[in-house]
């Protein structure tokens, strides 16, 4: 019990003393996962929209691939990205291995299927006749899609949250492709693994609290947007 108590006290001290390294790690986590989530939205929203609304050959296959992708184990993604980015690998010339960029790539591969799959689900919840109704009111195809996104904004935000949640808490791939290099690629999750391994429980607890707060705050912000957007604005 003393171990936990002292760990907590030390953690609070670390958090409020403005320990530079703790904040550096936190900001890097936020930046890397934020960029990965943003990119996964850029890919997943159009892709998911096409798969939800389009009628094309191989649609069922594409859907099942995306659904499988939603459950991709991060370590497998880490392995694949490592192989591709390895100095002698196919994309080795970029020199991305053990850089934050490599972590973004790996997290993008983890988050994109989540955002895509949930976008499909979000748009399939909308009454299919609404498309006909909007076309019948003179909407262009683009306007129909915009209106449908707007209509499905709550589940779409949930898709974004799930995408962010899947990468901010992920450790395997970040460790493998980032290398957990101090001041360079150390993010919250990899740092927690390291500190726990060293028996530095106070630091591990402090970092865990930050990770939880971060996840909580991002979700709080998105929830606030959700609540705000349900009111009929003029």
């Amino acid at each position: 019990m003393r171990l936990i108590w002292e760990g907590l006290l030390e953690a609070i001290r670390l958090l409020f003393s403005g320990n530079a390294e703790v904040w550096e790690i936190t900001l890097l986590s936020l930046r890397v996962s934020g960029i990965a989530t943003g990119l996964s939205l850029l890919i997943g929203l159009p892709l998911g929209t096409g798969m939800a609304l389009g009628r094309f050959r191989g649609r069922k296959l594409a859907l099942s691939l995306v659904n499988t992708g939603m459950a991709l184990p991060p370590v497998v993604v880490g392995l694949i990205v490592s192989i591709f980015l390895w100095r002698s690998g196919p994309l080795g010339d970029f020199g991305w291995i053990y850089t934050p960029t490599a972590i973004v790539v790996a997290q993008l591969i983890i988050a994109a299927p989540v955002v895509t799959g949930l976008t499909v689900a979000a748009l399939q919840q909308v009454d299919p006749r609404l498309r006909l109704q909007l076309l019948g009111l003179g909407a262009s195809r683009g306007q129909v899609i915009w209106a449908l996104w707007n209509e499905a904004r709550l589940p779409l935000l949930a898709a974004l949250m799930a995408g962010f949640g899947s990468v901010i808490s992920e450790v395997g791939a970040s460790m493998m492709v980032g290398g957990n290099i101090r001041h360079q690629t150390r993010v919250l999750t990899t740092a927690i693994v390291l500190e726990t391994g060293k028996g530095e429980f106070a630091r591990a607890i402090a970092l865990s609290i930050l990770l939880l707060v971060l996840a909580f705050m991002v979700n709080l912000a998105l929830t606030w947007i959700q609540q705000h957007s349900t009111r009929g604005e003029r």
């Binding site: 009454d127 109704q133 019948g136 009111l137 003179g138 909407a139 009929g232 604005e233």
Partner: protein, 364 residues
């Protein structure tokens, strides 16, 4: 093909056929709708009514044939869709305020903000939902939502308004009021409207003309009076509610008064037929009067048939009585008279109807 279009025709359908999954679901040789006209299309579920509407909205590609809009074949483009407006069966409002819903079509057309505001305000008022302008659509009642949905289409001032069973989900008083209001608005704006329903009352209340669509084919088109009192054939008759339809043969004809032999009865009717011709003899249930003490009252009814009550079915304020006269004859009486006359099943009664109430359909 060179279209020769009378100036007032808004659209014309020529040899239209639509298949779905290899099945012919709609086949219309010719249909013309004039500017400012309200055409009610009635038919049972699955008759192809909605298909026709979607084809007119150009949201469905006809297999063959064409639709001319102001003399020009309608094209697949946005420009045509922005001249018309479609209202589907359920209100299908967007999850935002009533104002934003009604403004949606105008915003699709990128009209200036001030014009959008003014037109939306105007139509919210005309449909008596101005007080609801800021209310989120999910919190509207069925009638309010339907008004918002109609306002959303009418605010576009479409050259052609297409309505797919817009009153289906409403309770009776709400529906009656909305139909009255809509009729006034359509007439005051001279909006050409094609309106689909399976309800005859709605068709009669709104339609300048009524078209009967059965199994994907246009079976009859005419004024509501003509269609409902003089159906073109037995199936139309059955659909529009002429319930007694019996086969007979004209035995005698004199100055329009016919004697017809049907099921062993000699019946009288009015019509232009020759002796020997086979006809279908159609009667609406409300035109049949029942008597429990036959022959005591003098009436102008030419036809008196004795029979027994086979079945009594209450229908709201009315009772539907099936009299077995050797063939089933259907009569509608009020609950009050059924009670006062003490009608019970198995009771002998006399059914009477005037020769002029009979509608005759030639039988091929």
């Amino acid at each position: 093909m060179k279209p020769v279009t009378p100036a007032e025709a808004l659209f014309e359908i020529h040899d239209l056929a639509i298949h779905r999954q290899g099945q012919l679901v709609l086949s219309i040789d010719r249909l013309t709708v004039e500017e400012g006209e309200i055409l009610a299309i009635i038919g049972p579920n699955g008759a192809g009514k909605s298909t026709l509407l979607l084809a007119l909205a150009r949201l469905l590609e006809p297999t063959t044939g064409q639709i001319l809009f102001r003399g020009q074949p309608i094209s697949h483009d946005l420009a045509y869709r922005r001249r018309i407006a479609l209202v589907l069966q359920d209100p299908l409002l967007l999850n935002t305020s009533v104002y934003n819903n009604v403004a949606a079509g105008l915003r699709f057309r990128r009209l200036p903000r001030s014009e959008v505001q003014q037109r939306v305000q105007d139509w919210l008022g005309r449909l008596e939902i101005a007080a609801l302008r800021d209310r989120p659509a999910p919190r509207l009642s069925g009638g309010e939502a339907q008004r918002a949905s109609l306002a959303r289409a009418l605010v576009l001032q479409p050259e052609l308004l297409l309505l797919d069973e817009p009153f289906g989900a409403l309770d009776a008083p709400t529906r009656t009021r909305l139909i009255d209001d809509l009729h006034a608005l359509l007439k005051s704006t001279a909006t050409t409207t094609v309106f689909v329903t399976h309800d005859q009352d709605e068709a009669m209340l709104l339609g300048d003309r009524v078209a009967v669509l059965l199994d994907g084919r246009l079976r009859q088109i005419g004024t509501p009076e003509a269609v409902f009192s003089a159906p073109a054939d037995a199936e139309v008759a059955a659909f529009v509610g002429v319930e007694t339809v019996i086969a007979g043969q004209v035995t005698h004809a004199q100055e329009g008064l016919l004697t017809i032999l049907a099921h062993g009865f000699t019946l009288e009717a009015v019509g232009d037929f020759d002796p020997g011709q086979y006809v279908l003899f159609c009667l609406r249930p409300e035109d049949v009067t029942l008597w429990v003490d036959a022959g005591t009252g003098k009436s102008s009814a030419r036809n008196h048939l004795a029979g027994k009550i086979a079945r009594l079915t209450p229908q709201g304020p009315l009772v539907r009585v099936i009299v077995d006269c050797g063939f089933p004859l259907v009569s509608l009486v009020t609950r009050t008279s059924a009670r006062q006359m003490g009608l019970i099943e198995g009771q002998p009664v006399t059914a009477t109807f005037k020769a002029s109430a009979v509608h005759l359909i030639p039988r091929g």
